[in-house]
Amino acid sequence: MALDASEIQTIEHDVLVIGAGGAGLRAAIECSAQKLSTGVISKSLLGKAHTVMAEGGMAAAMGNVDERDNWKIHFRDTMRGGKFLNVWRMAELHAKQAPERVHELEEWGAVFDRTKEGKISQRNFGGHRHPRLAHVGDRTGLELIRSLQDHGVHQGIDFHMECTALELLKDGDRIAGVLAYWRETGRFVVFRCKAVILCTGGGGKAWKITSNSWEYTGDGIAMAFEAGAELMDMEFTQFHPTGMVWPPSVRGTLVTEGVRGDGGILKNSEGKRFMFGYIPEKFAAETADTVEEANRWLTGDKTARRPPELLTRDEVARSINAEVKAGRGSPHGGVFLDIASRQPADFIKRKLPSMYHQFKELAEVDITTDPMEVGPTLHYFMGGVRVDADSQMSTVPGLFAAGECGAGLHGANRLGGNSLSDLIVFGKLAGTGAADYVRGLSSTPKATDDQIVAGVRRATDILKRDSGTNPYVLHEKLTETMQANVGIIRVKDELEKALHDLEGLKKEAETIKAPGTSQYNPGWHEALSMKSLLITSEIVARAALTREESRGAHTRNDFPGEREEWVKYNVIVKKGANGAVEVEKRERPEPPPRLKEIAYAKIEDLESGKVAGDL
C-alpha cells in the first residue's frame, strides 16, 4: 500500500523541544521569551518527567549557609568530581550562572526551605566543599518541575503531551523537523521546525537495576547518533551508591544522597563504618579520617573535615560494591545506611519526608528507628550529545541538547545536586542558542517526504507482522547483558560479550512484534523504544571498551587506576559511513590558564579570594 506523507498531520514551530523535564521546560521558556514559536513534546503527561524524582537539591554557590562558598569553589569541586574530564567552559558557566537561575525559580513561585535569616537554605552533599544545595525537603525535583510548568503554561508554549519522537528529519546537513506519534491514538505527526532541542535524559532502562523510569530509553542519544551528531563521554554511566535493594520489586529505586548529607552513615554487616577504609589519596586532605572528627563535622564544627560517606558517588558506589563482594553485605546484598542513630525522628521526618514514606510504604522499614539496606543503582549518564559550551548546539546545525542527554559538564563523574542546576543553566543557554541559530537562518529547511514515509513504515511494520519477538522479553534480555557485562566494574572480555549479545539482540529486534492496535498500546511503545535502547547500549559498551583506564564512574578491572595519558582524551562516538558505531579517541583542548589555576588551587586560597579567576 502506498503511503502518502501529505496525509500525515503536520505542526509547525520555530523550535521543537523534545522532553518536558527541567531542561526541556527551561529551554522552552527561553525560546518563548525570545519570541519564537515553541513546541514541547513529552512521552508522559506534563509534570511527570523524571526530574520529578530528583530529591536532594540543586547546587548553586549562593553562600547562604557558609559564606566562604563562591563560584570558584563550586567550579573546583565539579572539576575534581569529574576527574578533570569536564569541559572547562561548561563547568565555569554552570558554577557562575546557577545562583541566578535558582533565584529566578523563586521568582516563578518555587518555595525552597529557608535559613533562619529567611534566605534559601542549602544542604551538604557528596563532593561539595560547602553546604550548597537549595532544596525542598527531599522533593526538590518536584518543586523545580512544578515551578517551571506553572510558569511555562502562561508563556505561550504549545505543549504536546504523550507524544513520542521517532526520528529527526533533515534538509541536507540541517535539522528540519521531527517525526513523532501520539501515544493515545498511534497516529503519526510531523513537526516541521528550524531547530530541535533534545532534552531527553539518559538511557538507564538498558540496565536491570536502575533508578530510572520507563522513559529513560536513550531516545535523544540514539536520534542524535542517527542524525550524524557526535556523542561524547558515553562510557561514563553513574551508579548511584544508594538504591533500595529490598523488596525485589523496588530494587534500584533511589535513596537520596541527602540522607548522608544530613548525617547518615554507611555500615557493613559487622557494624563497621567502612568508608574510612576507602578514602582515596586525592581527597584525603579534605576528608575526616576518624569517627570523632566526622562526628564533630555533623555538629557544625567548621574546623572538622567532611565524613567519608560524602565522597563522590563513584567512590562510594565502588566501596559498597567491594564490601558486598568481600562478604560483609546486608541480608539482601547491600549495606546499611543508618540515619536513625544519627538524627532525631522529627528531624528525619521533616528533612527526608519522602524517604520516610518510601521505606515505610514499600519496604515496611521505619527509617527513624532502623537502618535502610542500600546498594548501587544505574542512575545517570554523564555522557551524551557533544555540544558547544555556550550555545549547546551539537555538531549537526540546528540540533541542540541540554540536561542529561548533553555531555561535558560532569566529565567522568557527576556530583549530586549538579544535575538540577545543569538543567536550568543549560536549558536556558540552549534556548538562547536555538534562538540565535533560528534568527541567523536565511532559508527554512524542509524535510523530504521519503524520510517521513520510511520512518512511518519502520514503526508500523512492528504492528503488522504476523508473529515475532515479544518486546518485553527482548528488553529483559538487554538489561541482563548490560547489568552483567557493562556494570560498575568492567573488563574487556565482558564488554566484548555484551557487544556480542547486542548483535544477537539487534537481529531479534528486526522481527519484533507488538500485538493489538496502535491505540495506546504499551507493547508497541516498548517495541519502538528498543531501537534507541540498543543503539545507546552499544555506544556505551564500545566507549567503555575504548577507555583503557579507570576514571570516575568508569572502572576497568583490567586497567586499574587513572592513567595520566587518558586525561588528555575524550572518547567520541559517531555514526560511520556504513552505519556502524565509529569510536575515536580525541585529544582535548588545553584548558584556559585562569580556569586551570582555580581548579588546582588550594581551597583556602579560593575561600579568601586569593585566586581571582574572574580576570
Binding site: S44, L45, L46, G47, K48, A49, H50, V52, M53, H103, E106, E107, W108, G109, V111, D113, R114, G118, K119, I120, V136, G137, R139, G141, L142, R146, D150, H151, V153, H154, M161, E184, S213, W214, E215, P247, P248, S249, V250, T253, L254, S354, Q358, E361, L362, A363, N470, P471, Y472, V473, E476, A514, P515, G516, Q519, Y520, N521, P522, G523, W524
Partner: protein, 258 residues
C-alpha cells in the same frame, strides 16, 4: 510466590469489561508490579500510565477495589490472602483505553489560575521568607497531581460539576498562591465567581485519598472559603474596608475589564 486473582477493566470509550487474570505474586509486590507482569506475559497492549514507581509522580492513579489509589504504593499484602483485586480506571474522567483516562481537563483548570506575581526583590537581589511562613504553602506544593482528589470529589464525580468547580487539587493550588508570602495578587474574587469555591461541601473525601497526606480540606479549602466569606459576606469587614479605605480587588479580572 502465591497465586492471586485479578479483575482488570479492559476497553475504551465505546465500552469494555473486566478480564480475569491469575498471577504469581512475590514478596513486596505492589499492584503496579502485578499489572506489569500481566502486561509482559499475557496482555502486551494493556494500557496504563506509570513513571517513578515510588509515589512521587502521580501517574499510576486508578481505582483499586473501588478506592482511588496509586497502584505503585498499594502493596499486595494489604489485601486478604484470598481477596480478588479489582482494578479499573478513574471514574471521573473519560476513558481512553483500559486504565488510561483523559485527564486533560485538569491541565485546562491549571491554566485558568493566574500566575504567581511576586513582590519586588530586596535590595540585594534576593527574596526573604521565613520557614514558619512557608510551611503551609510547602504542604500544598507537595501535591504530585495524581488527581485522586479530583476523582473522588462529589461535585466532579457524581454531579458532573466540571463546569462549576475546579476541584480540590486546584483549590489548594490557589491556596498555595494566596498564602504565598511573596505573592502580591488578589485571588479571592476568582475563587468565588469563577472557580466555584462555594460548591465544596466539606465532606473531606479528597483529604482521605491524598497519597501525600495534604490537609486539603482543613488547611486549604476551608481557609479559602473563609476568605471568600470575609470579603463578600461579612458586613463588619466590608464596612471596615469602606471606612479605612483598604483597597482590595473584589472583582474578577473579567469584571475589571468591563
Amino acid at each position: 510466590m502465591a497465586k492471586r486473582n485479578f479483575r482488570v477493566w479492559r476497553g475504551d470509550a465505546k465500552g469494555g469489561e473486566f478480564k480475569e487474570f491469575t498471577v504469581d505474586v512475590g514478596t513486596g509486590m505492589v499492584v503496579l508490579d502485578v499489572l506489569h507482569k500481566i502486561q509482559a506475559d499475557e496482555a502486551n497492549d494493556l494500557a496504563l500510565r506509570w513513571n517513578c514507581k515510588a509515589g512521587k509522580c502521580g501517574s499510576c492513579s486508578m481505582e483499586i477495589n473501588g478506592k482511588p489509589r496509586l497502584s505503585c504504593m498499594t502493596r499486595m499484602n494489604s489485601f486478604g490472602p484470598d481477596e480478588t483485586i479489582t482494578v479499573q480506571p478513574l471514574k471521573t474522567f473519560p476513558v481512553i483505553k483500559d486504565l488510561v483516562t483523559d485527564v486533560s481537563w485538569n491541565y485546562v483548570q491549571n491554566k485558568r489560575i493566574p500566575k504567581f506575581k511576586p513582590r519586588p526583590r530586596e535590595a540585594d537581589g534576593t527574596h526573604r521568607m521565613y520557614q514558619e511562613d512557608v510551611d503551609r504553602v510547602q504542604e500544598f506544593r507537595k501535591c504530585i497531581e495524581c488527581y485522586l482528589c479530583q476523582d473522588t470529589c462529589h461535585v466532579l464525580r457524581d454531579r458532573d460539576g466540571k463546569d462549576t468547580f475546579i476541584g480540590p487539587r486546584f483549590m489548594i493550588r490557589v491556596a498555595s498562591l494566596e498564602m504565598h508570602p511573596l505573592d502580591s495578587d488578589d485571588r479571592i474574587p476568582e475563587l468565588k465567581k469563577e472557580f466555584g469555591s462555594g460548591m465544596c461541601n466539606i465532606t473531606r473525601c479528597c483529604t482521605e485519598v491524598c497519597p501525600e497526606h495534604i490537609g486539603i480540606t482543613d488547611n486549604g479549602i476551608i481557609p479559602m472559603k473563609e476568605r471568600v466569606v470575609d470579603r463578600f459576606y461579612d458586613p463588619v469587614a466590608i464596612l471596615g474596608r469602606k471606612l479605612f479605605g483598604i483597597r482590595r480587588r473584589t472583582k474578577t479580572r473579567s469584571e475589571e475589564g468591563k
